[in-house]
């Protein structure tokens, strides 16, 4: 009865030559100026942009800078603009792209070089500003040998749903407000607050949260264009969370 779907046999044909137009600039090098550089590459089966960029670096241009860590769509290191669209490039298959592929670094973050940007410092700054950790006065008193406090199973799942964010920066890159206001915390920040607001272990009050995000740099800066929601590679319910936090903050 069990049959193997034909499509599951990995396809064997592929003959495209891909053209990559890649943004190049190394701010550490005084002689470098921003420019687009072109490369050609023969496409192979199941080729991802991760595979393609490494191939270019190893065989055509050893100086090309980009970031990959997990190469499995988990860690959030590899977001770039792929033909203008913020994407996790380790899991972008070239077969889903046209013959010409334009790659730019993610806007809204400090450029390190070429396709590498400093999302990490930005995200750490956001975390420090919003204090994205459990605030609980009794933390130090918890006796770790005692049975853990109970939690509603559904609540735990709901918290995880918001915690799935991998801080890749796609929502910031897709956000008009973030591109105009450097202090805007972005959908990523608002979602973080929604996550801690939901968590019964966090003792912060609505007022505490209001102080963190109740401004033009927070929920009220959002113009509800919702590029973030469309671009989130983890399909987080960002529009819903922003609307929810806005209502919550406005009715305070």
């Amino acid at each position: 009865m069990k049959t193997v779907n034909k499509q599951q046999i990995i396809p064997t044909t592929s003959a495209r030559t891909l053209t990559f137009n890649i943004f190049r600039h190394n701010p550490s090098d005084p002689s470098s100026t921003p420019r687009m550089q072109h490369y050609q590459l023969a496409e192979t089966d199941t080729m991802t942009l991760f595979i393609a960029l490494n191939d270019i670096r190893e065989n055509q241009d050893p100086s090309l800078a980009f970031d990959y860590v997990c190469r499995a769509g988990i860690c959030g290191s590899c977001a770039m603009l792929v033909n203008g669209k913020p994407s996790l490039t380790c899991r972008t298959l070239t077969k889903d792209l046209p013959d010409v592929i334009n790659l730019h670094p993610l806007p809204g973050f400090a450029l390190i070089a070429d396709l590498s940007v400093d999302t990490g410092q930005w995200m750490q700054g956001m975390s420090e500003r919003l204090e994205t950790w459990i605030h609980n006065q009794h933390l130090a008193e918890i006796d770790l040998s005692q049975v853990e406090e109970k939690m509603d199973p559904q609540k735990a799942r709901d918290i995880y749903e918001l915690e799935r964010c991998i801080e890749c920066g796609c929502c910031v890159a897709a956000c008009a407000t973030a591109q105009m206001n450097d202090n805007f915390i972005g959908a990523v920040g608002i979602n973080q607050i929604a996550r801690f607001e939901l968590d019964p272990r966090d003792e912060r009050s609505a007022k505490d949260f209001y102080q963190l995000i109740g401004s033009e740099d927070g929920v009220f800066g959002c113009m509800t264009l919702l590029g973030c929601d469309d671009m989130c590679p983890k399909d987080l319910p960002l529009a819903q969370q922003i609307a929810f936090m806005r209502r919550k903050m406005a009715t305070r």
Binding site: V4, N5, Q7, Q8, I10, N26, P27, S28, D29, S32, D45, T48, R57, E58, P62, S63, D67, Y68, V69, C70, R71, A72, G73, I74, C75, S77, R91, L93, I112, A113, S116, D118, T119, G120, M123, Q124, S127, E131, T132, W133, I134, L139, I142, L144, Q146, V147, E148, E149, K150, M151, D152, P153, A156, R157, Y160, E163, I166, F196, D199, D202
Partner: protein, 660 residues
């Protein structure tokens, strides 16, 4: 020379490094964390499956406790682990889970009432009591007697790493991102920090510290096909080796995970099989029961991976243009379960294979997954040969995994080791041993040596390509030092790697641009990685037995008589081409659980003369009805004195009423 001073330097911002740093900071010391990447992007984030701790709060965990967890871990290790360390670990793991819960990890919880689950291919109904509703639950993983793996849907490592990272920020710990330690500073067998390369500017900086901890994770990238992140290149282990003083333990003990998607090597979690998924061959036959009638798909990883390869060798693999593979079938778990508890698996299948695992089979084949070996330490986490150097997590050979680690025991180890080693480092910092009496010229000497090493790659007479050497090394390791090992191929691999190492001394870097320079980075890393590859290969060649994940076709039995020992590798002289190896015997007369059969895998091991003697002693204690389980344990193998006081307490559990 730019110099930064700190009490403690923690190299690595994964789970192990972060938790270690928190412990040190709480004792009032300054600590700086270095990381190649933002800590939240460390490879710990990739752990989808779960974390073992014997909370025993779900029905299938009923009766679980530290003793059961301990026995599973030792059998899993094929008796290669340090039993005292394993005891410290199992007693601290429940505390670690609870600490993480208080820091925000949304562990999945027990839900009272009936649930349908898949066990051994059949649907079974479990009934959880009301009294346990809301406590932390657990799932099944390979090589365990009880369901003990606590989890957060499909993102355990992610949630753990984010919570611990956030906690580190809450405690105002200094984090230096995109900084790579590439040399340790040391003199007279005392480590005092590291020379570090700024991966953004290319600048070298020296960090002087009274205590240094390496928590840099595994070194899977010496292999071509690995589930590890791109950054798991083992530079932390390599800089320890390059001191010539610190030792690396059991570098030949490399784990291969049964279910990496084929051919990309990306992992799909053991949770797939734990939750009831099956392995099928080209004829869609479920073959694991043929080899392991008892544990089937859920024997330990080394055993399952080996049988899969045996089955492929018998011609039962599915043919593809990239080679043969097998199938993982999770369709029977149903759409809802896959979409919630195994969503990451679904995404990986979608994005990297273009298939839907709810309806289709997943092509899998074993791939390199975990490094049991690493920097050899005492139970305190300190190197026994290089004072002031500590190690924790996958980078360390503390040694609780021996020759095979159980799924779910690694993220548990990272946090537990962090809790213990952090305290021990603080203790060290409080002691006289922390004083540094090293001449100021020492740091300069290491700084200059590092700078000249980097310069050597611009020697006009050099011509080798760093990328090409990396590829060749990975090919050799995957084809000759993999799941099946043999004297002939290992000898050949050792010779080839030695030549490759010599060639790596003549690498030429083309790109001279300042700042981040990926080619230069590859150049110095591959030279260091080759040293690790040589340790692994030489260790595998010399170990003429099979134990855990180390399998020799020409010596298929475990041999306790000659090989119940830990391999220790050093590289005392930079001019030598291969590591020196020596061995540390494991003393059966001190073991709580003397060697025996694991309950799965091969039965025909060669016993050591002490085994029967020790077993008789152990049996006598176990049969003494006047003692409770804690007293028996203490008589057999005292270990509590090794734990910081705050982690010594017994772990409380909510008991199940009806049974026994």
């Amino acid at each position: 020379m730019k110099t930064i001073y700190t009490d403690a330097l923690v190299i690595g911002g994964g789970l192990a490094g972060l938790r270690t740093a928190i412990g040190i900071k709480r004792q009032g010391f300054d600590v700086i964390i270095l990381s190649l990447v933002p800590p939240k992007r460390s490879h710990s984030a990739a752990a989808q499956g779960g974390m073992q701790a014997s909370l025993a709060h779900s029905v299938k965990g009923d009766g679980d406790n530290e003793d059961v967890h301990f026995a599973d871990t030792i059998k899993g290790s094929d008796w290669g682990a340090d039993q005292q360390v394993a005891r410290m670990f199992v007693n601290t793991a429940p505390k670690a889970i609870r600490e993480l819960a208080s820091w925000g990890v949304p562990w999945n919880r027990v839900e009272a009432g009936e649930h349908e689950v898949v066990i051994d291919g059949k649907n079974v109904v479990l009934n959880e009591p009301d009294s346990h509703h809301g406590l932390i639950t657990a799932r099944n993983f390979g090589g365990t007697k009880k369901w003990r793996t606590c989890y957060v849907s499909d993102g355990t490592g992610h949630s753990m790493l984010y919570s611990v990272s956030n906690q580190a920020l809450a405690e105002k710990i200094t984090i230096h991102q995109r900084m790579e330690a590439i040399c340790l500073i040391h003199e007279h067998n005392r480590c005092i920090g590291a020379i570090v390369r700024d991966l953004k500017s290319g600048e070298l900086v020296s960090y002087i510290s009274k205590a240094t901890c390496i928590a840099t994770g595994g070194f899977g990238r010496i292999y071509r096909t690995s589930t590890n992140a791109i950054i798991n290149e083992g530079i932390g282990a390599a800089i320890a080796l390059e001191t010539g003083v610190a030792e690396l333990g059991n570098m030949e003990a490399i784990q291969f995970h049964p279910t990496a998607i084929f051919p990309a090597g990306i992992l799909v979690t053991e949770g797939c099989r734990g939750d009831g998924g099956l392995l099928l061959d080209a004829d869609l036959h479920r073959f694991m029961p043929d080899y392991e009638p008892d544990k089937k798909e859920l024997a330990s990883r080394d055993v399952v991976a080996r049988w899969m390869e045996v089955h492929i060798r018998k011609g039962k693999g599915v043919k593809s243009r990239y080679g043969d593979h097998l199938w993982l079938d999770i369709r029977l778990l149903g759409e809802e379960h896959i979409n919630t508890s195994l969503r990451e698996v679904k995404e990986i299948c979608q994005y990297f294979l273009g298939i839907d695992p709810v309806k289709e089979l997943i092509p899998v084949r074993p791939a390199q997954h975990y490094s049991m070996g690493g920097i050899r330490t005492t139970p305190d986490g300190q190197s026994s040969t290089l004072s002031g150097l500590f190690a924790a997590g996958e980078a360390a050979c503390w040694d609780m995994h021996g020759f095979n680690r159980l799924g779910g025991n690694s993220v548990a180890e990272t946090v537990v080791a962090g809790m213990i080693v952090g305290e021990k480092m603080a203790e060290f910092l409080h002691s006289d041993a922390a004083d540094i009496n090293i001449s100021t010229g020492t740091a300069q000497k290491f700084y200059d040596a590092t700078a000249s090493r980097l310069n050597s790659f611009y020697n006009p007479e050099h011509h080798e390509s760093a990328f090409a050497i990396m590829k060749e090394m990975q090919e050799i390791m995957s084809s000759d030092v993999g799941i099946f090992r043999h004297k002939d191929t290992l000898t050949d691999a050792l010779a080839k790697l030695t030549t490759l190492y010599q060639r790596s001394k003549r690498i030429k870097v083309q790109s001279k641009a300042p700042g981040t320079n990926p080619e230069l980075t590859t150049a110095y890393r591959v030279q260091m990685m080759l040293k690790l590859a040589l340790c692994t290969t030489k260790g595998a060649l010399q170990r003429e037995e099979s134990r855990g994940a180390h399998f020799r076709e020409d010596f298929p039995n475990r041999n306790d008589e000659d090989w119940l020992s830990r391999t220790l590798a050093t590289w005392p002289n930079e001019a030598q081409q291969q590591p020196d190896l020596h061995y540390e015997a494991l003393d059966i007369m001190k073991m709580e659980l003397p060697p025996g059969w694991r309950g799965y895998g091969a039965k025909d091991h060669l016993d050591h003369a002490d085994t029967a003697k020790r077993q008789a002693q152990v049996d006598a204690v176990l049969q003494n009805d006047g003692l409770d389980r804690f007293e028996k344990q203490q008589q057999l193998m005292p270990y509590l004195h090794l734990l910081p006081e705050e982690f010594q307490a017994k772990n409380d559990r909510v008991k199940f009423k009806q049974q026994k």
